[in-house]
Amino acid sequence: MPITYTSREQVEVYRFNTAAAILIPLIAVFLQAFIPLRLHFFSIFDLPLLVVIFFSLARRSQISGMLTGAAVGLLQDSLTHQPIGIYGIAMTVVGHGASSLGVKLDVENAGSRFLVTLFFYVVHEVIYFAVARGLVGLTLQWSWTHELGSALANAIIAVPLFALLDKFKQRA
């Protein structure tokens, strides 16, 4: 069993079968596009981002995290009417960061998952806004209240969602 050794403890590396690795992000993007039509408040959640964080933390591979983030981000970009790549860049960084953090920390318990999600949500939004404003020239409004509220909501929902997705994990 491949085990990544850190200075403090050894952490296990997980993998996912191909169907789960493809379908889970697809379903997340689909739900993100579909549910807000019926439940408008759902647009505060970012399921694709949560899935990227989960995969990156579980795989603990930076390359894998980056590629997952880039693929999901570009898919999300393709459904918007804006130039493709804004979500892609933000998700790539999040995937890299989450997998780097996953190597160093125990991210199996609910508390650390909550905090990691909270942190990476804010990171994602900051990068998204920077790219959208700086590179694309979009006019976006930054509201700390809204962003922190969204981050909190996503962190809360991440705990049960990650527990559900744990069922698809396989030991590498």
Partner: protein
């Protein structure tokens, strides 16, 4: 060098992936035809996601239809009755309005105006959204297969929704009016002030380019002006909610959209618009409220031709060419006035206590419009020549419909 790259392999890959994406973004931003440069990726993404959305919407719609059309029919009869009454009321209103419209057409024809008409629409179902708060767009289940093209207007019964942005084979992306990149030519209904309606990053709608010295009140209706060449003129857009002073002598007018953009289910895509000069008089004889009322009343069938050689209808054998009187018909009868004189019909078709008359026509607490129409009909009757005014006729038997048959004088 190799050892450096090997040591920072992950970082190098990260930079490489980011660089590629930034490059892609730069190309898209620089190119004016952004649609084409990234079309393939969008087609793949849309084809990957929309089939699921279509499937779920179909299942949801089918199960809903099954339940509402076959099982849950409580109150349908009452609703049907109410709707019939409403239709009658609206018919009367329509006649009144059509007279106004005719007058407006005549005036427009005099001034040489051109009217825009919605000639053809395609109904579509909303199947998904962009999934991003920064991109306010939705997907509908109709595409090039249904003849949709970019820049076609999308509306609901309540008002303007947006315009088609991208068209795929069986789906299309609709840019909503509250997106910050959208713009709609708009006009205030009362003051006729024109402006440009834009979305804000927060998803609100603001009417811009209205001078700050202009009188605008909260509650004013906003309509499309037709100046953008996408939306036909006169479609409802929304209502003014808040007015504040904006930059450079312009007002910042917040508008609440008429269509509920957060709960879109079915929309209409305007696929064809016609522009034509109004005709002064489109109908040779204007239809009047009295005619409509008369058409709704039952009619006595024509007298059967009595053939002495054959037994009478009372014996159970039908006379050829004559229909037996089976009571009031539910279908609108052709009780139109002869010779364009409806006054006679008004007089004969106004039984005060005829059970065959629908409740709407008996309702004494009618809205003003109906009462006006009735008084209008009465005036017409008074203005008619005496020779054509029907003489008082005996009341028909209680179980028989009133005599509405037009007899030539």
């Amino acid at each position: 060098m190799e050892s450096v790259l090997g040591r920072y392999r992950n970082l190098t890959i990260l930079v490489g992936i980011l660089f590629l994406q930034v490059l892609g973004l730069a190309i898209q931003v620089k190119r004016s035809s952004e649609n084409e440069s990234s079309r393939l990726i969008r087609v793949w993404a849309v084809n990957a996601v929309t089939p699921f959305e279509k499937g779920i919407v179909w299942v949801q719609h089918s199960s809903g239809s099954l339940w509402h059309n076959y099982f849950y029919l409580r109150g349908v009869r009452q609703e049907n009755r109410d709707l019939r009454q409403q239709i009658q009321q609206m018919e009367i209103d329509r006649v009144r309005l059509s007279e106004d419209a005719n007058q407006a057409r005549r005036l427009q024809a005099l001034l040489g105006f051109k009217e825009q008409f919605i000639a053809k629409t395609v109904a579509a179902q909303v199947i998904g959204s962009s999934g991003s708060e920064q991109s306010r767009s939705v997907y509908i289940d109709k595409g090039t297969n249904s003849g949709l093209k970019p820049d076609m207007a999308v509306i609901t019964g309540d008002g303007v929704v947006g315009k088609i942005l991208r068209v795929f084979q069986s789906t299309s992306q609709v840019l909503l009016v509250n997106d910050q990149t959208s713009g709609v030519g708009a006009i205030l209904e009362k003051s006729r002030l024109q402006g440009i309606l834009r979305g804000t990053p927060a998803g609100e709608i603001v009417l811009e380019k209205v001078m700050s010295d202009q009188p605008v009140q909260p509650g004013d209706k906003v309509l499309t002006s037709g100046g953008d060449q996408i939306f036909p003129k006169g479609l409802p857009v929304g209502t003014v909610t808040k007015i504040s002073t904006g930059s450079e002598l312009f007002l910042n007018i917040h508008v609440k959209p008429a269509a509920d953009l957060n709960r879109l289910e079915e929309v209409l895509v305007i696929t064809q618009q016609e522009e034509r000069e109004p005709v002064a008089s489109e109908t040779t004889a204007p239809l009047r409220a009295a005619d409509i009322l008369a058409e709704r009343l039952p009619k006595v069938p024509p007298k059967p031709v009595v053939d002495p050689g054959k037994p009478s209808p009372a014996t159970g054998t039908a006379t050829p060419g004559a229909k037996p009187a089976t009571g009031p018909s539910t279908q609108p009868q052709a009780a139109k006035p002869v010779g364009g004189n409806p006054a006679k019909v008004v007089n004969t078709s106004a039984p005060k206590h005829n059970p065959a008359v629908t409740p709407a026509s008996e309702n004494t607490s009618k809205p003003a419009t109906q009462q006006q129409t009735s008084s209008h009909a009465a005036n017409d009757a008074a203005a008619s020549p005496p020779s054509t005014t029907a003489a008082p006729q005996p009341e028909p038997p209680a179980n028989q419909p009133p005599a509405l048959q037009d007899t030539p004088h």
